[in-house]
Symmetry: none
Subunit: 209 residues, 4 copies
DNA sequence: CATGAATGAGTCTTCATTCAT
DNA sequence: GATGAATGAAGACTCATTCAT
């Protein structure tokens, strides 16, 4: 069955098929993290995977399909790691702290994957030059943060946020987290604990009443 | 005389030479901003400049040279716009406010250039896969912010910052500013005034004693 | 036992084997007729047959073997449809009329198969670039027509034909019939009755004394 | 200037550009005639032209553009050879004779080109599997023949033709001529004079009153 | 100075074929 | 018998770079 028509339909995939795809995606992540998006050709990826170039084409409709998968898998792993930790918190303040902590922990433990996702996402444009993922990002990434802010405001713990100011706040938090990834790329011996503590303090202060 | 040996030595360039280079750099910026780093081939750039592909090769040692120039020119323009405004301020608090304000203003007025620089910098790696600009970034971009923070701390206006916490603070401020660019790419009708106000408030609170 | 050694030896084939081959050949015909010779990969054919690509390789020595089979089966079906109708005629004039009529009828009823055969035959070359089927064509396709012409000449019904002129006549008749197929491909609503009548008239006149 | 936007706009082409294109088109013709449409890759063509593969891509937007050019150039050469000869004739009967004669002569003198055109045209399909050139063919190739037939009928020299019967007649004439090309491919020592004479006789009889 | 032309390495993709299960 | 998986060669096309004019 061709992958052309249902590239992401995992329901009908055999176990071995899923394993292969996962392996290839992992190699793609490794490759992008190591040599960068621009240099990460299918040839480079297949070389690292010790497979023939054709295997990738066999399991993925095209390069875009493979690259998308990197983002999709990452998002799912991220989601299932972060969400329960947040939900376990009672106060918005704790939620925000845990959001920052868990994100940084997740990033540290999945360095290469995060790097690869960032490269893929930031290089992804539609044929008319517009960015893809733009609208997705707001709904799936920012909204949860904004919800925490709104909750904190309603409970009287956080300062007052308008629509627009909670959006800027959420963006800044997210940018701080994403920026941490880049910092981690440059300095692999970064003290994550400390970085986390500082960010928590910073946003604790900036959200306080 | 070929540019091979002295690609960035502007001293010996004739006026016409400089003009040509500037024109090409501008077209490169335009091109990258419009269609993205990956699609911005020398062919595309020369097409937008209405010149032959060879001209670029004549004036720049290679593509990398051209791309670097985008970052260099941007940094210089940025520097000469921001620096005097900061220096005109008396208190660290005002400096920080002006830093944020002037950066956002500068970005809004140079959208395409900023976008291009971000694409170039984030895709630039050395042949062994490491990021270039990494060390530059700390000294030229972060240090000035850290200096403001240190000053504010010494004057007793800002809270206490350790080496590491002022670094995280500076990074977060910078990430907020850079992130604003991306937001501006996605939503061109963004209210810059408002965004600026929110960021100033946010970092005012987070640096306060 | 692999088909490698006796790809066309139908004697030793089991019933199921024959059925499978027939099914695959039919799908190949369908595919070529629909998307053209160049696009008709084994993948496309197997997709239409709802079988795996490997099955084709299992039942046919190679792609060429499968393609040849299309021509062979067609020729046999054509032969057994046409021959008895011709033989049932008494006069050469009637034979010619029936030849034309029966060919056009056969073509109309086997559109896809004819199209596929034409595509296969016209794209088939030996490794040194020469056409295959070239010599076959003369003996199996043209000779029967020439025989009718000779007969008609001997009986004094047709005009005089030399070796060479009966060959040209036969070729022209055959070209008219094959050309009808192409016309049918372009205009599926062609009035076959009418087309037949015109051709019969045309060649009736051109063979008359 | 990219060939993408104006692949066939010959007005703006320099002399040297036209020469190169012509040379490449000629090599493409040679290649297709020799090894067939399916085997005629850009690599094969460039090899025969003793140029790098990239040169073809430089001068033609894509393979289709090159292949189309073969047909276009042929049609123009054919047109300018045939048309004046026909127009010089006074009676429809002579026109038909000259049409057949000049076509066969032209084909003999441009064997390879004709072969290439036939292969290109017969393999050309749109993305949905339909033939291209189909509608063109009727207007540019068949109409002129039909006009001769109509004229002959009006002058009382030819037998009566309805819309549909003149179409079939024209098709048959054209098929005879195109079929001659295939015959010439198979038997290069064909006596063209004789073939021509036979065809003229054949269609003379079949159009007579 | 500028250009058009050419190159050749490299990109993604397709495909006939093989093979272990 | 049948299949999914894998291969590797070949395909068209892109592009940074070089060079003669």
């Amino acid at each position: 069955m061709s992958k052309k028509n249902k590239p992401t339909n995992q329901k009908e995939m055999s176990f071995i098929e899923k394993a292969r795809r996962t392996q290839i995606v992992e190699c793609a992540i490794e490759t992008i993290a190591e040599i960068g998006y621009a240099q990460a050709s299918l040839g480079q990826i297949s070389k690292r995977a010790n497979i023939s170039k054709g295997v990738i084409s066999y399991h993925f409709a095209n390069k875009e399909d493979l690259l998308d998968q990197i983002a999709i898998e990452y998002y799912m792993a991220w989601q299932s790691y972060i969400a329960p930790l947040i939900e376990a918190q009672k106060s918005p303040k704790e939620m925000l702290r845990v959001y920052i902590e868990s994100n940084l922990t997740f990033i540290e433990e999945n360095r290469k994957h995060v790097i690869a996702v960032i490269e893929v996402v930031s290089n992804k444009r539609t044929s008319d030059g517009k960015f893809r993922f733009a609208s997705d990002h707001d709904e799936t990434i920012l909204l949860p943060i904004e919800n925490i802010l709104t909750l904190g405001m309603q409970e009287g713990i956080f300062r007052k946020f308008t629509r627009s100011s909670s959006r800027v706040m959420a963006l800044t938090i997210r940018n701080a987290i994403d920026g941490f990834t880049l910092e981690l790329m440059k300095k692999s011996h970064l003290d994550v604990q400390e970085y986390t503590r500082e960010l928590v303090t910073l946003f604790d202060k900036s959200t306080k009443k």
